[in-house]
Amino acid sequence: MTSETGVGASVKRKEDKRFLTGKGRYLDDINRPGQAYGAFLRSPHAFAKIKSIDTAAASAAPGVVAIYTGADVAADGVGGLICGWAITSKDGEPHKAPAHPAIAVDTVRHVGDQVAFVIADTLAQAKDAAELIEVDYEEMTPVVDGAAAVAAGAPQVHDDVPGNLCYDWELGDQAAVDAAFASAAHVTTLDIYNNRLVPNAMEPRAAIGDYDSGNDEILLYTTSQNPHVARLVLSAFVGIAPEHKLRVIAPDVGGGFGSKIFIYAEETICAWAAKKLDRAVKWTAERSESFLSDAHGRDHHTTAELAMDANGKFLGLRVNTIANMGAYLSTFATSVPSYLYATLLAGQYTTPAIYANVKAVFTNTAPVDAYRGAGRPEATYVVERIVERAARDLGISPVELRKRNFIAPDAYPYETPVIMTYDSGNYPLNLDTALKLIDYDGFAARRAESESRGKKRGIGLSSFIEACGIAPSAAVGSLGAGVGLWESAQVRFNPTGGVTVFTGSHSHGQGHETTFAQLISEHLGVPIENVEVSHGDTGKVPFGMGTYGSRSLAVGGSAIMRAVDKIVEKGKKVAAHLMEASAEDIEHANGVFKVAGTDKQVTMAEVAFAAYVPHNYPPDLEPGMDETAFYDPTNFTFPAGTHIAEVEVDPDTGAVEVVDWAASDDFGNVINPMIVEGQIHGGVAQGIGQALLENAVYDPDTGQLLSGSYMDYTMPRADDLPSFKIETTNTPCPGNPLGVKGCGEAGAIAAPAALMNAITDAIGVEIDMPATREKVWRAAQSAQQAAE
């Protein structure tokens, strides 16, 4: 049943009023009594020994409270930052995890590495003083490119990591792939680079450490997608405080896209310094700092080969990737180019044999970790570009080649050769839906019209798949994860009938306060305005693993449903007592308890009231209506779809205009279509950004970040993008009680390949991302000359 506020309704967001009236409370909006302000002195060099640090002049500057260096942090026994996912190389060796001190001790390994932390009464004083610190560096030659880092004679980023090799990992049956290639009628090859991106959530990272000496308790406000995970890591591994003496609050968070999953040096130092000084310490990143110190995304060099029979049927796929990890391992860095990447190389296809080899390498650049999609955009990009190239090689239409190789809608569950079991889907339907949306049949006429104006028009497809709802603890544990990936929820009725839902998921734009409230409204019949969703505070929410990997609804929402089940179960007992019936005879629907076969009924509100005012109450039942549940699914979810880009290229300048975009995605059941569409819009925009505009570029000689501000790093703006045509299809997910698959990352996963394929179609030459205007112009020129 779809009510106005239930499942399936585009309910306007509950959180919007505060954001629209300036009453959101983001971290920098929060101030603690007596707080001091911190500023980091960061390395100006990509790679250097720190010979000495002289803080004398800075310490004497006005307002300075304290200055800490790496030596101070080490002396206090504060542990380094950790990587929480263990990857085993093909030779059986564990991945190399060199020390990652929160403040560099004797060596800086990327521009922006923390060198000292200055705390003062005002921010301006802290910054003024930071400039007075004198550091004597001995510069060394850096290496910034992943492929260069594994070349013989490359600079060694860490003494204890020979050849800069973090791991050399493989997945799949190499012999089967070799056999497939031996029997192939045609082999298509691809050599591509997946560009490095800076996530750029609009709210810069920030933290406030505060200390209650009376209770010996640290309170950390931080811009986190997963405050409980931050508490766990800071407690168990970094040693900031025991978990029960550390409260982490992630208030309103202004976007994350993965970059706020990780446990960073800055929040670590704020928490530690607050206790040391017995004074609150606040740090807020400036955008320039964000560019240098937020974990970046992607940065893969890949060669791929696709073996096909004479009819274009895929026989085997071989992929070799070098993944740039940056200077240190960020929290989940190792998992991204391995289990979140190679496991998706089957795409939507029946390719029977796949082998992937991934070398993860250290360089003198900012750490690289999960960014919207995390590994899965890289996989889709490889698969969907090589499929399109194969279609051109074979002279088969890209639509037809895909259809020949799609997994059939009746083939589920479907086991791929790269350890995934796809649970449901209908790939041909999504492709056909997207073709209709963009009027694929009318493309030739549109192309002719463009040509009459001297423009080149192209169209490109991307049929993506992702594994998300990142969860099954047993599965991820077997693959190296150091944590469980369940989710928890608490559903608490108040005596007067209102409900507070405490969720371990964290909303930083996803609209959980609305979507989760819709679940309660639908299933417990509570008016949506009487449902409050609380998240982001380890002092309020029982437990949580946070929001990433499109997991909030599939895992967090399912946990809420489990708690709802418990509420209903208890409610039935209370209702049975109130109506003098047997609990077995009570039926529940939408917040109304009925005695089966009678017209006797009580409402959820009456039941909740009785539970808190148990004057007339079952003798063997606990009072209260407050249930907590944990949920751990048995499989990932597998959203999939087809996106189609249409572009027009100005051959005189190389400027690419994205003139149309169509997407048909299968996210299983949808709770709030409006919110889902918004997620697609945003994901596609980031994917278009990667393909066309965004590029984190380090100078290969100096290791300086050349695109270190919005003056040089091109963020997609309103006039860079088209409006999008979006539809969803639905094969319900069999793996969770809501039948949902997750939608947060799909657009970013699908979009780059679609756009690059469209550009190739327009200019007739393949280029790497980003398709800058100069690159497109040069390619178009060379294609023109080749044609003449």
């Binding site: 910054k127 005189d652 040089d712 091109t714 112009w777």
Partner: protein, 263 residues
Amino acid sequence: MYEFNYHRPGSVDEAVGLISEDAKILAGGQSLLPTMKLRLAQPSDMIDLAGIPGLSDISVDGSTVTIGATATHASVAASSAVAGAIPALAKLASGIGDAQVRNMGTMGGSVANADPAADYPAALVGLGATVHTNSRTVAADDFFTGIFETDLAENEIVTKVSFPVPQAAAYVKFANPASRYAIVGVFVAKTADGVRVAVTGAGGSVFRASDMEAALNGNFSASSLDGIAVASDDLNSDLHASADYRAHLVSVMAKRAVQAAGG
């Protein structure tokens, strides 16, 4: 940002009197303040021109458009008088930065800052404008002397710029996709004294493309520019455009500007 003293003089003379070695003139601040925020500039004193009466006046007098130093880009863009006399100038102003920058940024600030990728220098040189300071007038051709360098003396303040009204003119910009400054901007003007082609963004400072001017003097038509390119030797090269690409873009934008100007 470093500390500084703030002054808000009521007259140009008072402003000039406040100038000292490390002082900076604050007009709109849209270039200066970002630089100061990044601690790349450390003025001892900021002299705000916003309180000086009459300095933002815009007037059109027969064959001349005169724009006061503190006239904002938005006010130039919105001026029907400017649009009537030199539509290319109003259009250029409407494309500087973004709407918010145009509401604060000033013509005088842009001219005195002489950013090699700024738009206004192309208009000044393209139209053969005259820069008025507190003490003299300077021809635009002589005003821009290098990267962020002008002919202004230390104790000189730009007070207004007068633009002769051309027969036809147009400005076409190929913007940096990130900063939205000009990678290449070409201002073409057909004047009584001949055609002027001014190029911004491509080099260290705005410059005139004399080969193009000669060709267009012969025949004011985009096709006259076929095969004419500026040399790439001294052009800028950065993340967003190599010197070769910039040279190519100068030709493309020049043709488009000529077409837009009716040629």
